[in-house]
């Protein structure tokens, strides 16, 4: 019994020297320092420093968690997505365009409720908007290339609502889950991606 404990201790030290355990100790210190140093400002409260399980896992495994953990958490994220009450996924693409272009939302200098989707920060969408980022893939011709199907509308809605349901440690924010965009706003962005008349598909 005592041998086993000693062995476990040696293993932990070895793991620590190899990185994992040491990293965990440094992370604990880092979190302690952050919790001491940060203060609430505007809507940005200090509880934002507390990680949920997904954030914790993605940080711990440097965005490459073990497959079983990944599957379990992705399923939980998918199950928590609220489908539109009326069963319709498409809103107004013109409103969707405004939401896609706005980088506002959720910072301490933003007003609650005044949020955009920041889509262009990371994605190419309409050819008429050449100021786009490259953190995410190009979504130009989204509906045109994938097909204007009901399944694709549903997928777009769910992907915007919670990207992590499809790729656990995706960089993309969970716009529905985090309360950044409401149901109607997500529908409007779906229409921006999926309406044949939207500039994204022209």
């Amino acid at each position: 019994m005592r041998k086993a404990i000693v062995f476990a201790g040696v293993a932990a030290v070895a793991a620590g020297c190899a990185g994992m355990g040491g990293e965990m100790a440094y992370r604990e210190q880092a979190v302690g320092i952050m919790k001491r140093d940060f203060h609430a400002r505007g809507m940005a409260t200090v509880d934002r420093l507390n990680q949920d399980e997904l954030q914790r896992v993605c940080t711990q495994y440097n965005n490459k968690p073990p497959a079983d953990v990944e599957k379990r958490l992705e399923a939980a994220q998918l199950a928590a997505i609220k489908a539109p009450a009326d069963g319709k996924y498409m809103g107004d693409w013109k409103r969707g365009q405004r939401i896609a272009s706005s980088g506002r939302g959720m910072t301490w200098s933003d007003k609650p409720g005044a949020a955009g989707g920041s889509c262009y920060n990371c994605h190419q969408l309409s050819p008429q908007q050449p100021s786009f980022g490259t953190i995410g893939p190009s979504l130009r011709g989204f509906g045109k290339t994938r097909g204007y199907t009901a399944e694709m509308q549903k997928y777009a809605y769910e992907r915007i609502y919670n990207s992590k349901a499809f790729s656990l440690c995706s960089t993309m924010p969970r716009f529905g889950h985090s309360g950044t965009l409401n149901e109607q706003q997500i529908k409007d962005v779906v229409a921006y991606l999926m309406d044949p008349a939207s500039p994204v598909n022209r």
């Binding site: 440094y26 992370r27 320092i33 203060h39 940005a44 934002r48 990680q51 993605c58 100021s131 953190i135």
Partner: protein
């Protein structure tokens, strides 16, 4: 006079930039114009104005204790300013912790001159015609490391520990949008809108873009900003709560990014878009 002219020109360009529509074509054009303008400006860098003001603040007896900062130890001995900036953050035995340049200057203003942290932290960032004293002073201090190699030390155990803590802060995902610093600055060749995002996890020239050019004269707004402001605004965009001014969180992050910048040439206070 020369400075006044440069400032007017800079303000004019900044106003011009603000009026540009946010499309890549004009952004490219703006970027090209900005580069040309920066070349001209480097002959008479507006940051020099704050260097001069900072030097005066450093040497003048001020504060409740009516003392100058000339006995302030920036790591190379009391009063030694030359080369100090490119060797910070570093460990200080008197506080028992690793401190970055501005944090150390604030510490000296408190201990030597008798200023209060709460007062200094009340409005720590430049705005309009207002420049906080520590920003001018750090600009002066940084200028005394012009054309020197970045050499953030890692010899003390606390310095190595602070690097590791800074790294953990850099990769820590949290907040409503699940971001960490690495979400934007952890990969090569990314862009947000048309703005290039340097990879601060990659030692050398890429990471050094976190260090080089700061403190910087920022054309948007025509103000001088230090790394304290840059870190603060990154956390704002990361959707985090606000980090304390001159806090250990910032010092740890600057240690991580500073060490990754080691070996690169620091050109002194710069010009930022």
């Amino acid at each position: 006079m020369r400075h006044a002219l440069v400032l007017c020109a800079a303000a004019g360009l900044a106003a011009g930039l603000a009026g540009q529509p946010a499309v890549a074509q004009s952004d490219d054009r703006t970027a090209a114009e900005f580069d040309k303008f920066r070349e001209v400006l480097e002959e008479a860098n507006p940051a020099e104005l704050w260097e001069l003001k900072g030097e005066e603040l450093w040497k003048t007896r001020r504060g409740p204790k009516n003392a100058s900062l000339e006995q302030c130890d920036l790591g190379l001995g009391p009063g030694v300013v030359k080369g100090a900036y490119v060797q910070m953050p570093r460990y200080f035995a008197d506080t028992g912790k690793v401190m970055d340049a501005e944090q150390r200057i604030v510490h000296c203003m408190i201990t030597l001159q008798g200023f209060k942290y709460e007062e200094l932290a009340k409005a720590p960032f430049s705005r309009g015609n207002y420049t906080p004293d520590p920003v001018s002073i750090v600009t002066y201090v940084a200028a005394q490391s012009r054309e020197m190699k970045i050499a953030v030390p890692q010899s003390h155990p606390k310095e190595r520990e602070t690097y590791e803590i800074g790294k953990q802060i850099f990769y820590y995902r949290a907040g409503p949008w699940d971001f960490s610093c690495a979400s934007c600055h952890g990969e090569d060749g990314l862009r947000i809108r048309t703005q290039n995002l340097p990879n601060f996890t990659k030692p050398g020239a890429q990471a050094a873009r976190s260090f080089i050019g700061w403190p910087g004269y920022r054309m948007t707004g025509g103000v001088m900003h230090s790394l304290q402001w840059r870190m603060n605004d990154c956390f704002r965009q990361q959707r985090f709560p606000e980090p304390g001014y001159a806090s250990d969180t910032i010092a740890a992050l600057l240690t991580y990014m500073g060490v990754n910048s080691n070996g690169e040439l620091y050109r002194g206070p710069g010009i930022k878009r």
